[in-house]
């Protein structure tokens, strides 16, 4: 197979080059060879420059804006020091958003991992119609967070959707969902209550609806990689089915769990569209997140320094999530290859 393909290419190539070019073959070939040494780098150059400027250059640029005096419509890039940051960390709205996005991330990623794992283990047992179930659980991934937000906004509207069903079931005090300003008591930290705002629950449900299929898909791929021989061997050794899951399969799924935490975690920390569409910042900022505050600071209030500072904090949050996760993944990969 490999041989024939190579031969076909060769005949085509030899036919085209010397005849059409009409130049002595050897010198040209040597020139071409020399140029080709740099060709890979040359072809990558546009992408490398684009990412270099639009990712790395822009990060530095935003970093500079965050310490500048740019706080009005007029651009002022003179150095202001770290005022924007010190102000942020005594800003009720920012601190609320920070708390919300961390609570949201823990709940959303946690619930998605559990649902995804359970679904994957059930589908791995090859129930009737397995592909149909799988496709059903995955389709929300093809839908925009904007659409998700629009629909779930109505489903959790206190006068509609879920509450109509609860009413019919005889529930008397209907939940206020994302309109609720209640915060499950935690402890106070400066101006804000470190706790779970009830309003976030509705947003978590919508996000889980959209993304838990992703966790399932990753776990399913992981489960398919665990050979039947291994399970059979464990069975021969007298392990029960639940022991096989606990001792053999779950530990082998650890790299998948790390992947899911990285991907869903970083999506969750920068959450913007779902909140923007479904709830907005909410009364008392119970559903605000830094990404929404960043957008409104920058493009509605012209507080560019503040907007830039918020996005630097977001970047730090994502790095803080990813660095240990990537480190753990590399370790498990090394352990697996040994």
């Amino acid at each position: 197979m490999a041989q024939t393909t190579g031969a076909e290419v060769a005949s085509g190539d030899l036919g085209a080059v010397p005849d059409e070019a009409g130049i002595a073959r050897r010198p040209r070939r040597r020139w071409v060879r020399r140029a080709e040494r740099y060709l890979p780098i040359l072809l990558l150059l546009p992408s490398v420059i684009a990412i270099g400027v639009f990712v790395y250059g822009f990060i530095v640029w935003t970093g500079w804006v965050s310490v500048s005096n740019w706080t009005s419509f007029v651009r002022d890039l003179s150095f202001a020091g770290f005022d924007a940051y010190t102000r942020l960390f005594s800003d009720f709205r920012f601190l609320s958003g920070l708390r919300n996005v961390i609570v949201f991330t823990v709940l959303f990623v946690g619930v998605s991992v559990v649902i995804g794992l359970v679904l994957a283990m059930l589908l791995d047992r090859d129930p009737w119609g397995a592909p149909i179930w799988r496709n059903l659980f995955l389709f929300p991934l093809a839908i925009s967070f904007v659409v998700t937000g629009v629909v779930w906004q109505w489903l959790f509207n206190p006068r509609a959707g879920v509450n109509l069903l609860l009413e019919r079931l005889g529930v008397e005090t209907l939940p206020m969902w994302y309109v609720s300003t209640e915060i499950i008591p935690g402890w106070r930290w400066g101006q804000i209550e470190v706790a779970i705002p009830v309003a976030l629950v509705a947003v978590v449900v919508a996000a889980v609806w959209q993304m838990s299929g992703f966790a399932m898909a990753i776990y399913l791929a992981g489960l398919q990689g665990i050979s039947e021989d291994l399970r059979e061997a464990a069975r021969v050794d007298g392990a029960s089915e639940s022991q096989i899951y606990r001792r053999v399969i779950l530990p082998m799924l650890l790299p998948m769990t790390i992947t899911i935490v990285i991907v869903l975690g970083h999506i969750s920390l920068k959450t913007f569209d779902l909140i923007f569409v479904m709830t907005g910042p909410g009364t008392g900022y119970v559903t605000d997140v830094p990404a929404v505050y960043m957008y409104e600071s920058t493009f509605r209030a012209n507080q560019f320094a503040r907007g830039a500072a918020i996005s630097v904090v977001l970047l730090v949050l994502v790095v803080a999530l990813m660095a240990p996760a990537v480190w753990a993944r590399n370790r498990t990969e090394e352990a697996a290859s040994e």
Binding site: E36, L39, A50, P127, W128, V150, W154, F304, S311
Partner: protein
């Protein structure tokens, strides 16, 4: 028989999750076909008494220009970023050079940044280029920030082509471009399908770039949909019909080519 009984909890759980997955779709579909008089939120769960296309027509007349914008954005952006990813992936898998792994990882990191961190410079740069509030400006943005994922998927794809084929091509005198054109590219169709579907879906569904870079008539459909839903005076049935229409292109792709969509999903998540 016993074995079948033992499976009841399994199916019960699957049915439960399936209902959860279908609820938003159910509400969208039935509401969008209700006669306006029945489209009340208090009757949200009830099936329509007769089929009406009123909401579909009203929704479409509003969304039409924005749907066109979204196609004008997503199609060229998908094609360009797939092509770029294919060339990058080809080089990173088959023409490695000293330091190419470092360059590859540096490109890949671009995938995980929260895009807020580049938003202010991006708006400034597009403005300076005269591309702010234009579809080409959005295309450029999506092509550039799509480089990491498309490169990754194509690199993993080309890594599966046996090196012998490439070596045979080299022995026969074909160069980097010749091998790309005659060997790699013809084998790339599945790779292009996976990357194309992935990019189209992401670009179609994207909101942050769209809402910051464009306004008024240049808006893609997701921003238009958000405007409709944010307005208190827009009827519930129209909102549901518009949401469904905005979701339909990617849903259709998922139904027809879901297998490739899932491959993109896995390829994007698992570093090869």
């Amino acid at each position: 028989m016993n074995k079948a009984l033992a499976r009841i909890p399994l199916y019960a759980f699957l049915v439960l999750v399936a209902l959860f997955a279908l609820v938003p779709l159910y509400v969208m579909v039935i509401t969008s076909f209700k006669p306006p008089a029945e489209a009340l939120i208090s009757r949200m769960w009830e099936l329509p008494s007769s089929l009406s296309f009123s909401a579909w027509e009203r929704g479409f007349s509003i969304l039409r220009p924005y749907l066109i914008n979204s196609f004008a954005l997503a199609i060229p952006a998908t094609l360009l970023s797939s092509l770029l990813g294919s060339i990058n992936g080809y080089i990173f898998s088959m023409w490695r050079f000293k330091g190419s792994e470092i360059v590859f990882n540096a490109l890949l990191l671009g995938m995980f940044i929260p895009y807020q961190i580049v938003l202010i410079p991006l708006v400034q740069t597009l403005n300076a280029m005269g591309l702010f509030n234009t579809i080409p400006g959005l295309v450029l943005t999506h092509v550039i920030y799509g480089i990491p994922i498309t490169t990754l998927i194509f690199r993993n794809f080309y890594a599966r082509i046996p090196m012998e084929i490439i070596e045979a091509g080299q022995i026969d005198g074909a160069g980097l471009l010749g091998i790309y054109r005659r060997i790699a590219l013809p084998l790339s169709l599945p790779g292009f399908v996976v990357v194309g579907i992935w990019q189209f879906t992401q670009i179609w569904n994207e909101f942050l770039w769209a809402v910051t870079i464009t306004s008024a008539g240049q808006r893609p459909v997701m921003v238009a949909l958000q405007n409709i839903s944010g307005s208190q005076i827009v009827e519930f049935d129209l909102q549901m019909a518009a949401a469904l229409q905005a979701a339909l292109p990617t849903l259709i792709i998922y139904v027809l080519l879901g297998r490739y969509f899932v491959r993109g999903l896995l390829a994007g998540a698992v570093k090869g």
